[in-house]
Symmetry: C2
Subunit: 153 residues, 2 copies
DNA sequence: TTAATTGATATCAATATAGTGTCAGTTTAG
DNA sequence: CTAAACTGACACTATATTGATATCAATTAA
């Protein structure tokens, strides 16, 4: 059972990188190379995030993506919803018989309670929190990229 | 995002039915018809549960499946593990760079914490608890099946 | 002008989930 | 003793989801 798919995974990591390099545009190519993600796939993810106003972009040479929204307002829950749809524990168990009485069904109740808990957890985690939790060393890595790519030219 | 797959769903519902009719054998056909599940698919699910010693079976006419284990010891968590594999939020985010230092990675930490919470929730829910939560009306339905199928012959 | 970029889409491949079919062996009612 | 109702054990198909690639037009800075 996998809770986060690649899209969500890549989205979080891309946002962390944009968060670490705030103020400047970072190209999809750069993110893809440094974080080791498939380029075209990542681009799709980034575009989806643009559509949801999480990031902005600039076309052309020196273009790329930039994080504008406050990192503390980007919740992992939202990312999951964007890339994996609303969390639902089960479509609707117990169709035929018990479901005749949806509102009363205690099973559904129990399941929905768990749904609530899970959602709550993911709602707590924001890109901002994750950024702050990164150790200095990690942070530097995220901000500067890998060495080959950064050799002072 | 779907947390419970059909297999888990069917497994829970089948167990509830077996739990409601404890002591007697219930055939896959009966469960399938009364709970509206695909017969062969359900059979696969039942066999899997036998392999994990959750239920026992009897072949031949008047045969079927029976719940032997204490319903309070059958946790939804175990069912999820059987039919969907261990819960893992993400394979392992942040491969290339940060992962050089797995033990230190705070992101992984955060993710694993949530994993813990989710697992905990599903560990709390047992077939026994669900059975007790069923209202009397539901219980009767589960135990007696639908009317057409039960007409005293 | 050209190379580095994003926008927008179309398509494909891989994997996971859901469901069906078949046949051999067991049991019990008649 | 036999037929019908069962499970055991697989092999198979279908559908959906996820992951990834490819193409081409438009934009921009050097
Ligand atoms: S689960 Fe659908 S109503 Fe009980
Ligand atoms: S997530 Fe793999 S180590 Fe940080």
């Amino acid at each position: 059972m996998k809770v986060l798919t690649k899209k969500t995974d890549y989205a979080i990591r891309a946002l962390l990188m944009l968060g670490a390099k705030r103020g400047s545009y970072v190209s999809a190519r750069t993110i893809a190379v440094e974080q080791d993600m498939p380029y075209q796939f990542l681009r799709g993810v980034l575009q989806e995030m643009i559509r949801h106003d999480l990031i902005v972009s600039k076309e052309g040479v020196q273009g790329g993506f930039m994080l504008e929204k406050d990192p503390d307002e980007i919740r992992v829950k939202q990312l999951i919803e964007i890339f994996q749809g609303t969390v639902q524990v089960s479509e609707c168990m117990f169709r035929k018989q018990i479901c005749a009485n949806r509102s009363r069904c205690v099973l559904r109740h129990e399941i929905m309670r768990i749904e609530q808990v899970v959602n709550n957890e993911f709602e707590q985690v924001t890109i901002g929190k994750l950024l702050r939790k990164l150790t200095l060393a990690d942070h530097v890595m995220l901000a500067s990229g890998n060495m080959e790519a950064t050799e002072n030219k």
